[in-house]
Symmetry: C2
Subunit: 303 residues, 2 copies
């Protein structure tokens, strides 16, 4: 039996001690810790990493603090449009959705696409039809309306820009006792986004990737750069083809390649030996990790 391990993130960006209150920090730490606990509960009972990833992300989606599920930001039209993806390292099976609305847990819908459809990636109205067929849990618009998000949209509209300092995403990577890796990512997108923009979150290879031969990766950041750099798959390829350890691979992609392109953000990654990397080039990243028998680590700022 392998030793299990799990890591989660709650987004990266301009996260500074100077703009944080002790209450808010405590709420974020609790949110991350709750997610780890939900995932670990599965892993502890010899459950599958895929299920652990789903459960941990559901907790982050249900928490209004994070830009996913309930806490999703608003598009230019004042709507929530959510994306999510999930991948299993053993089978390389994957599922993803983009542009879904009123779905309580997009990560579970992505898992249903993987397990119950012949497709990998469903979008918009079509994905909503599939959700109906799957009886995916729905919530009314009000469920998603969080005062702070409306304020962000108002500010973004006034400045006529998408809000890059709120590049929130949530994600999880897990290794179970059977030696299987899994990764998942979920987001409420960019504040004030237009034109049905799709970021890296639902894109297998960019925002999410898992392969038992190498690693599981979940990204958060300025999605356009993460797509162009095929970030999650690039970490895996640096391990598979160049023989680099996880730490080296993450460093090259996050601190060198992405920085040169101007791509702000980070990722969480886990290899088949249980090594964990929480890498980011932004001011901060909400992150937490735990290995079997070890203490939980929770981090927010760069230092």
């Amino acid at each position: 039996m392998n030793q299990y391990a799990i890591a989660v993130h709650g987004g990266a960006g301009t996260i500074l001690r100077s703009t944080m209150t002790p209450e808010k920090e405590e709420a974020y730490r609790k949110g991350l810790s709750d997610a780890i606990a939900a995932g670990e509960a599965v892993l502890k009972k010899n459950g599958h990493s895929l299920v652990a990833v789903e459960k941990a992300i559901r907790v982050l989606e249900d928490n209004p603090l994070f830009n996913a599920g309930r806490g999703s930001v608003f598009t230019n039209k004042g709507k929530n449009e959510m994306d999510a993806s999930i991948m299993e390292g053993r089978s390389l099976m994957a599922g993803a959705v983009t542009g879904v609305r009123n779905i309580k847990n997009p990560i579970s819908l992505a898992k249903a696409v993987m397990e119950k459809s012949e497709h990998v990636f469903l979008s918009g109205e079509g994905a909503m039809k599939f959700a109906e067929l799957m009886k995916a849990e729905r919530e009314p618009d009000e469920y998603f309306v969080v005062a702070e998000r409306l304020e962000q949209l108002k500010k973004a509209k006034e400045a006529d820009k998408t809000m890059l300092d709120h590049i929130g995403t949530v994600g999880c990577v897990a290794l179970d006792v059977h030696g299987n890796l899994a990764a998942g990512t979920s987001t409420g997108g960019m504040t004030n986004k237009k034109f049905g923009r799709v970021g890296d979150t639902p894109m297998i290879g960019a925002g999410t990737y898992a392969n038992n031969a190498t690693c599981a990766v979940s990204c958060t950041g300025h999605g356009e750069y993460f797509i162009r750099a095929v970030v999650a798959h690039d970490v895996s390829c640096l391990m598979e083809y160049k023989g680099l350890p996880l730490s080296e691979a993450c460093k090259i992609v996050v601190q060198d390649k992405l920085v040169k392109m101007g791509g702000e953000g980070g990722l969480i990654a886990l290899d088949a030996h249980g090594n964990i990397e929480l890498a980011f080039n932004s001011d901060g990243m909400y992150r937490a990790s735990k290995k079997q028998g070890g203490e939980i680590f929770i981090g927010i700022y760069r230092d």
Copy 2:
């Protein structure tokens, strides 16, 4: 100055001599040759590979024989929903659209996303709004209605399946005299597809990838497998990190990895030295290539 080179494909799948007429074969050969000519016209005048890729793909989109643009197949609802993506190897800039309707040339819309938006990937109604803003050329439903496609939809509906023997896609890779690579892919999707399915075509890394450091790749095949295998980027990584030549990299991905997964299809690829690979594991692939000063090659079947 580099020697320019270009290759195009018009889809892969169950393409057999036994089911082809001489007239039909001639029409396909002419379609491929016309696309090469359109791309070469740009390259010959020291134009950019990105423009050559766009021009060649427009010719294939305008040709009703190929499943892209005018010849797009029908979704379960009897609609055309088209996807396209394009990428430039010098800047790693990219653009993509999914689920667009009534757009004459989706590849040009993808190029507009790359050049005139702050995003990489736009979807559905939002992408249509962007198209309107860009004044993208539109065509009425009738333009796309091709008798053979309606017959395919009828048959697919009767059998209640998506048609995997018509996994048509068109694509182009080009190297210009400035040494810049580019790749693009466009498709009308799967006959009888449901749920807003997104295939590999609009996914940077899966269906399309270009990087001056390695190669330009455009894929065609059973998209779900191509997404899970991150095919186009994998070819690039095998070259960049393992130091393999283009031919070896394509062979591993198409004949080994994809075959083991059960992923039918192929790809066209071109490296910075002008080496061309037209690789597929299906019965056939509509394909053509030409190097500066050389003869055009056109192929359809496996032999």
